[in-house]
């Protein structure tokens, strides 16, 4: 029983991390129709920027996280505005561009920081004990930030002009433009929000997991998994699916070991993609 609860708790904190990652990814797909292969790159970049701020500049960790968010958001904004925006309607071209950016980011980090993983530890140590159950404090913090980020993103999308403008552009670009909405102004902002979220995740999670130039690949795979499961482009779906993925992973590693859990999830995702691209929840999504 204790083992069961422990696994569930691990699953929930994994789910929180995955949700943070998946939100940005699904946002870009939902609004711009772009599959962002550089998502894992921004995650790594967030981690390294936060690490550098703490290790070289001596900034307190929370401030370092903010710097990481700002840096990744700024890079995302520039990339969208100057490169992606020119070809935003060509799905293969945008995919290749984000892939190219990912290779550049990861090689850049490799060149600057070397191939070894960094000594980057989460500053809040210790755990909450409740009888035989314990929850590391760092996981609680990540969970709290994740829930706050989901709430903030929801508010931006559904309660502000920017959000309305973005959703209008996603629904019908032509009509939205005829109404005076300017993709050149709004799309870079959406991209920056998404990459900022990836940077936030990196800054928060790499101290818990690990920080090395290879950590972007699995991040991308997990984002795919989560976002397809939740229905590409759907925010609520992605958030929910993230917790499903986290919990499945936690339980399968506790009870089965190995990668059976991941295999099952990927097969499920394959079938979903083919037979029900709207995901588990059946949200409407944009056409490819």
């Amino acid at each position: 029983m204790d083992q069961f609860i422990q696994a569930a708790l691990i699953g929930i904190s994994l789910g929180a991390q995955y949700a943070l990652l998946a939100l940005g990814f699904t946002l870009i797909f939902g609004i711009l129709g772009v599959v962002n292969f550089s998502h894992g790159g921004f995650y790594m970049l967030g981690g390294y920027v936060a690490y550098s701020c703490v290790a070289f500049l001596g900034l307190p960790y929370p401030l370092a996280v903010l710097v990481a968010v700002a840096a990744t958001a700024a890079l995302g904004w520039v990339f969208e505005l100057f490169l992606l925006e020119r070809l935003v309607d060509d799905h293969l071209a945008t995919l290749m561009l984000t892939l190219g950016l990912y290779l550049v980011i990861s090689t850049g980090l490799l060149t600057v920081f070397g191939p070894l993983s960094m000594e980057f530890a989460f500053p809040a140590k210790g755990a909450l004990h409740m009888g035989p159950i314990y929850v590391p404090r760092e996981n609680l913090i990540v969970l709290a930030v994740c829930l706050a980020a989901i709430a903030a993103l929801w508010l931006v999308l559904y309660r502000t002009d920017l959000g309305r403008g973005l959703r209008a552009l996603a629904d019908d670009r032509t009509v939205a433009m005829a109404q005076g909405l300017r993709p050149k102004l709004l799309f870079p902002l959406a991209f920056a929000i998404a990459t900022g979220l990836a940077g936030l995740t990196g800054a928060l999670v790499t101290p818990i997991l690990s920080l090395s130039p290879g950590v972007g690949d699995p991040v991308l795979a997990t984002s795919f998994l989560t976002v397809i499961l939740g229905g590409l482009g759907s925010l609520e779906g992605a958030a929910l699916a993230a917790f499903v993925v986290g919990i499945v992973e936690a339980f399968s590693s506790v009870y089965f070991g190995g990668s059976i859990g991941a295999l099952v999830l990927f097969v499920l995702v394959l079938l979903l993609l083919v037979f029900r691209p709207t995901g588990l929840l059946g949200r409407t999504v944009r056409g490819a």
Binding site: D161, G165, A170, V175, T284
Partner: protein
């Protein structure tokens, strides 16, 4: 003259959709463009709002030539646009659809617009949270109309507002257009159905094959417009 179109040409590939039309829309009036399917009505509207380029000619809005201004900037000058087939934003709520038309005007103006439009179209209150894609055609036309009016435009472009609507809805939309006209809004609307549209307009033009067959006050074009309708 609020809008003056001079010798406008529009081409798709090699095919001319508009061959040098000239149209005047005086301030405060409702001007009708009638014509059969393919006559060039949408091409005219789209050239004004900037969705298709003008190959030749000028489109003067309050004296500025719109053809020199990119599409996304034209709405800002005070032009509202309700497209053919309505094209509401299907996943967005009715209220968000309307507010999207008032993008960037500030919260105060947006609230003002929403309250005014809700008083004109009570439907916007009843269905406020419903995704617009789930509404009926007539309801969607109301949303599209409200969306176009949300920025308090000087000129309202309506592309076939009656398309595919039941007679009750044609009546309702017609009343709404009359209401806007009474308020002083200038309207340029297109229709295939000449009969109900002629009741709303002050003047009009009959389009056929990308050229103007006749233009003038409603009474002067009525016979040609109705003859065209039965072609």
């Amino acid at each position: 003259m609020l809008l003056r179109i001079e010798d406008l040409w529009v081409r798709y590939g090699g095919i001319a959709a508009l061959s040098g039309i000239s149209i005047d829309v005086p301030e405060g009036e409702t001007v009708l463009l009638v014509g059969a399917n393919g006559a060039g009505k949408s091409s005219t509207i789209n050239a004004i709002i900037g969705l298709v380029p003008a190959r030749k000619g000028r489109i003067l809005f309050q004296g500025t030539d719109l053809t020199q201004i990119p599409c996304e900037r034209r709405a800002r000058l005070g032009i509202g646009y309700s497209p053919e087939g309505r094209r509401v934003f299907p996943t967005m709520s009715v209220t968000d659809n309307v507010l999207s038309g008032a993008f960037g005007l500030g919260r105060k103006r947006q609230t003002e617009a929403l309250e005014w439009l809700r008083s004109v179209f009570p439907l916007l209150i009843d269905r406020d949270k419903q995704p617009a894609g789930q509404l009926s055609g007539g309801q969607q036309q109301v949303v599209a109309l409200a969306r176009a009016m949300a920025s308090f435009p000087k000129l309202l472009l309506l592309d076939e507002p009656f398309l595919g609507l039941a007679p009750v809805w044609i009546k309702q939309i017609g009343d709404a257009i009359l209401h806007l006209r009474a308020r002083g809004t200038t309207v340029l609307m297109t229709e295939q159905m000449a009969r109900p549209a002629l009741k709303l307009a002050t003047s009009g033009y009959v389009l056929r094959g990308g050229e103007i067959r006749r233009g003038g006050p409603v009474d002067a074009i009525r016979d040609v417009a109705l003859a065209d309708e039965y072609l």
